[in-house]
């Protein structure tokens, strides 16, 4: 066995160095939101001296046409609706891929893996036009429907790896007792696979909440924008006002960070399981 000693101290030092390098900007962001802009600029490293909360004044934002609470609501509606539809559709398909015999299954599997690599940009032009034809520009559904499709390949692949682990014998027994596929799926397989389903939900939550390009193109109207797109308004004339800008950025980071703090184990194991076979 390798034994702890001076070597371990050096390793810890190196790891802590990288941790500081990686996390300091995020910590700085959080702390700077509590300082007036002038303070941030003049004493950039100094921690906040008092609890200065004016940066979080949402009224001030809306006077400037930056509707943080509207963006927040849009992001929430789009993310939750997408997750609901995506999970139902993904569960059915993942179960079918893992446990049922069907025509063209191998071709579907290869196609799904191939779709993981498709750059959405390559499809953005026809999709934009298609959504426009459906009269869904600046409409939540104009974003939700393509999102469901784009997050499906990864979801199906990950879900089927969880369903595969479920022993066939138990399903056979349930079927002999007179259950059909839907009942076996709903009463026996689903409850056991809840952990896997949660993993898929959480990873998709992050992906959907943070998505940018589609939202940028489809949600034109300021009242329809999601958070990442809404935050781009800060690239404009208010770019110099660091305080409110950093506060808005920090607010948008809270939901994903919270999710990460609670579910990091599931996220980490799920991402490796879905992308790597065996």
């Amino acid at each position: 066995m390798r034994k702890p000693g001076i070597g371990h101290t050096i390793i810890h030092a190196l790891l802590i160095l990288w941790a500081i390098l990686q996390l300091y900007p995020v910590v700085w962001l959080a702390l700077s939101t509590l300082k007036p802009t002038a303070d941030i600029l003049s004493r950039i490293f100094a921690p906040p001296t008092s609890l200065y909360l004016s940066n979080y004044d949402l009224q001030l934002f809306s006077q400037r046409g930056i509707l943080i609470s509207v963006y927040f609501l849009n992001s929430t509606i789009v993310t939750l609706t997408t997750l609901t539809v995506l999970t139902i559709v993904g569960l059915l398909a993942g179960y079918a891929m893992a446990k049922l015999n069907g025509p063209g299954k191998n071709v579907i599997l290869i196609a799904l893996v191939g779709m993981l690599g498709i750059p959405v940009h390559a499809l953005i032009i026809p999709l934009y036009y298609f959504v426009a034809q459906l009269k869904l520009l600046s409409n939540h559904w104009g974003l939700i429907l393509p999102y469901v499709a784009f997050f499906l390949p990864f979801s199906i692949l990950l879900l089927q790896t969880y369903f595969r682990q479920f022993p066939d014998e138990i399903m056979e027994a349930a079927k002999i007792d007179g259950g059909n596929h839907l009942q076996v799926f709903g009463r026996i397989v689903m409850p056991v696979s809840l952990g896997g389903i949660a993993t898929v939900l959480i990873i998709n939550f992050l992906g959907i909440w943070n998505e940018f390009l589609f939202s940028l193109v489809i949600m034109k109207n300021n009242h329809a924008k999601t958070l990442p797109v809404g935050l781009m308004s800060f690239r404009g004339p208010y770019n110099a006002d660091w305080g409110p800008m950093l506060a808005a950025m920090f607010m948008a980071t809270i939901p994903p960070l919270l999710f990460y703090f609670i579910f990091h184990r599931k996220i980490i194991s799920g991402i490796t399981a879905g992308s790597l076979k065996e």
Partner: protein
């Protein structure tokens, strides 16, 4: 044998029923636009009204007259290459250090992966502030007495692209780390023990045991990183929008500007088709290395 024959039809029907919603979504929102994007490059189109067939004219324009296309292609490749080398390199070193059976290893893993969960828009805007003339980096240089190194990092043609790549490496090294660490932790510790008994140093075992056994994980993670980084758009759009003077133009931003600012949908589609082609090649390699192809082959044989 008898059993499979008996239940085949019912199961086929169930399979189709269960797959139907997913197939509809993917066909309408992925396959249909995919076919369109293969056709659109041969037309002139304003996004409304008539499509005018112009053959290969868009391709000719792109290859011969559009200087920004070549810059964008070069920058996309640079970003993919150095982004992948950076994230995989740093991710490997971090995983290796954590795998030394140190205490609190899970805490480090937690901390290093944290930035992956944040939106690229936020990290991009954050780094705009870090790299700002009055930002963190220049202030840090001043604090350690190295003012002569201060720069307008994102406004300088020489430093803008490296700065964007550095931001990506900063955010995503934790992503490659979790794959490599998971791989390392699945290596049988007895292999290391017997190598140490035979007199191998820890460094030797990295090259003789760890790296060879992680070949599969390495190929997967390299392909994933190449696929992700070749389609870069968000980060560049947030940080520089392709500037200064096109120094950070990538295919994603070039396409966006052509299609949605200049309303040249046909021409934008040509750029999309190039991205598509490269991503397709990457994906084929990924299917091979990820092991999914092997599963399908085995399934087909049975």
């Amino acid at each position: 044998m008898e059993r499979t024959v008996k239940r085949d039809y019912g199961e086929y029907v169930m399979f189709c029923v269960f797959m139907l919603p997913a197939v509809v979504f993917i066909s309408v929102f992925i396959l249909y636009p995919m076919i369109q994007s293969l056709v659109l490059p041969f037309f002139r189109w304003k996004g409304y009204g008539k499509l005018t067939f112009i053959g290969l004219k868009n391709f000719v324009t792109m290859f011969t007259k559009d200087e920004f296309f070549w810059t964008a292609l070069k920058n996309s490749l640079l970003f993919s290459f150095f982004g992948t080398v950076g994230t995989v390199g740093i991710g490997f070193v971090l995983a290796l250090l954590i795998d030394f059976k140190i205490r609190f290893w899970a805490v480090y893993r937690f901390l290093f992966f944290l930035t992956v969960s944040i939106s690229v828009v936020i990290t991009g805007l954050l780094w705009v502030k870090v790299l700002d003339p009055f930002g963190l980096l220049n202030a840090l240089l001043a604090a350690i007495g190295m003012e002569h190194l201060q720069r307008v990092w994102l406004g300088d043609v020489a430093t803008a692209m490296p700065a964007i790549i550095a931001t990506a490496v900063w955010q995503y090294s934790g992503f490659t780390m979790i794959f490599l660490l998971a791989g390392m932790q699945s290596i049988n510790p007895q292999l290391y023990e017997s190598a140490t008994i035979d007199g191998a140093t820890r460094l030797r075992t990295v090259f003789s045991i760890t790296i060879p056994l992680l070949r599969h994980v390495f190929s997967v993670i390299i392909m994933l990183q190449l696929i992700f980084s070749f389609k870069v758009f968000d980060q560049v759009w947030v940080m520089t929008q392709g500037g200064p003077a096109g120094a950070t133009e990538v295919l994603g931003t070039h396409l966006y500007k052509d299609a949605f600012r200049l309303v040249r949908f046909g021409y934008g589609s040509v750029i999309a088709s190039i991205m598509f082609f490269v991503a397709f090649v990457f994906s084929l390699i990924y299917i091979r290395v990820s092991g999914y192809a092997g599963t399908v082959n085995r399934a087909a044989r049975n």
